[in-house]
Subunit: 342 residues, 2 copies
């Protein structure tokens, strides 16, 4: 089916565009009143695992905020869950894994899942969303980077610094590498399945990449991300977002990813310099700035686009949208991008 709006794919192919495409990380979610209503009726996993609900949630920001891409409603922790680890997602409390991985024996509790069996519900949601979107905008699939998934699988819950996960890598490096490879293998199968189900692009989220030193990021994160990008780059456009890992923008650029996501703690100039001028960049509005008055948002969006330039650029936030952002502020962000004139 031909896309009526293929701005995102053009930007990912480094083609010239009239204005940058725009979407927002976590756009399908907690700041939208219609989402909150569904959250009151269905648990997180019911929303994920019921294709009709996941589709409805995925499409809400396309219809209500006017973004140029949909991203499937799901969570990065469905992969550890499919691998056999218990994952609870408590409303407002974040993830909780009651039996985290502590040593090599714990790896025995994990399996390499048949993704069609254990993650088929995500593929079904993608298929139904694709059909319901009817070509309005591209559909993005996603997965967590192996290091970020290891963080949760070892620490067992969210953390500012994931000290236990880093210590696990430093004290049991062989076990860590074995675990990272297991996650990588599953993730490749999972993302391939998402593409078969209709994803037009995929994003790999390394939310905790920036907690590692540059040397450790190469060893415990990028080495595995590279395998994932290599396996997918001829199949689908890829976006790689390693929050905080400004120091690796050059080596991430060399993975063959079509675009790199960047957070707000790097300027456009620095990011272009580090990543090289060929690759598309995605980001990097400070999510907290969406709470500023609307005229301020519009002004800052213009500044951001001028700094990155219109081509090889996808307007986005530097991290997920905050739950307390008024919907008209999110809309102002999107509108300001759409109205941008060179």
């Amino acid at each position: 089916m031909e896309l009526k709006n293929d701005l995102l794919l053009k930007a990912l192919r480094q083609e010239k565009v009239e204005r940058p495409p725009v979407w927002m990380m976590r756009q399908a979610g907690r700041y939208l009143p219609d989402y909150i209503r569904l959250r009151e009726k269905y648990s997180f996993f019911e929303r994920c695992q019921t294709p009709e609900l996941a589709t409805e949630i995925t499409i809400q920001p396309v219809e209500q905020v006017g973004v140029d891409a949909a991203i499937i409603f799901s969570d990065i922790l469905v992969v550890p869950q499919a691998m056999g680890l218990e994952v609870e997602l408590l409303e407002g409390k974040g993830p909780f894994l009651p039996d985290p991985i502590k040593n090599i024996n714990d790896l025995k509790r994990l399996r390499k899942p048949d993704v069609n069996e254990s993650l088929g519900y995500v593929f079904d949601a993608l298929k139904l969303t694709k059909k319901t979107l009817d070509g309005r905008v591209p559909l993005i699939g996603f997965a967590g980077a192996p290091w970020t998934l290891l963080c949760y699988m070892v620490q067992g819950k969210g953390s500012k610094t994931f000290d236990e996960a880093r210590a696990f890598c430093f004290t049991q490096p062989e076990t860590a590498h074995q675990l990272l490879q297991m996650i990588t293998d599953t993730t490749i199968e999972y993302l391939r399945g998402q593409v078969r189900a209709g994803a037009d692009a995929v994003q790999v989220f390394d939310s905790w990449g920036g907690l590692l030193s540059p040397v450790d990021f190469e060893e415990f994160s990028l080495r595995y991300i590279r395998q994932i990008i290599s396996a997918l780059k001829d199949v689908v456009p890829t976006i790689l977002f390693a929050k905080g890992a400004w120091f690796a923008l050059d080596s991430m650029s060399a993975t063959g990813a079509n675009a790199l996501g960047i957070d707000w703690c790097v300027t456009a100039q620095q990011a272009r310099k580090f990543a090289g001028n060929e690759i598309t960049l995605q980001g990097n509005f400070d999510p907290a700035r969406l709470l500023a008055p609307v005229p301020e948002i519009r002004k800052e969006v213009k500044k951001m686009i001028s700094s990155f330039g219109v081509d090889r650029y996808i307007a986005n936030l530097g991290h997920g949208i905050l739950p307390n952002v008024p919907v008209d502020h999110a809309r102002a962000f999107v509108d300001a991008v759409k109205e941008y004139k060179i």
Copy 2:
């Protein structure tokens, strides 16, 4: 009184040394069994406010781990407390401020304190520690950077991202600047008092500087840090540690600080390049790596010193020591620095 070990001061004056000085952020604290025993008997504020206890805790790592400098046992939140805000420090739970600052009216609840009156207990602790140290090693005083203190004063507790604090700056910039200036004025008086009481050097901790974009860091953090460093640089050697703010190493270097602290997410080469070759650098061992086996710690310490070089360098961690580090691992870190041969 002449110092028997003035390695730290030599490094801060950019003088040649035989080996780098070494100390550890949070060295006086929770990984030491003798500290834990005191914690069981006295509350946090009793430990801070009783000069005999603060002195004992401050000197423990000098005697038990062999560091080249003592840092006074206290907390950055004593300043908001002296300004009139209620601060609770709950064991194992972090800080809690029941009535945080939300708008301009809340500033009326704050005062510019007479530091001798409201923070005299810190000065008393410094005096007694200085006397008890008897010149064994230099004594470091410290304060939080205004932005980091604003984070807690607005958010009311610890946070991964301090979204509310950033949003406060974006939605009420004038109030934010007024608050930052009040904190700055108090901090300057407070640090001057610490120097009068015997501090041989002072460190300014901007633990959350790296949560701001480069432009916002300049506006909401560095502008105020600059005032503090200016007011103190002719009085005492200063160390400035803004965690995560690699992007500002050049402008922080230009403040006139004697040394910049750096975290483990920057390589020595990058840090030297960004900060310029004249200034002393302090850091940047990943605190989680102190959980690795001792031979591994020793090997990594050598690598670290070789990367930074012996001169204009203070060996330290990239953030505070973790509570679960065995004392002999901390000692191995210190010993490896002491045994370093060019």
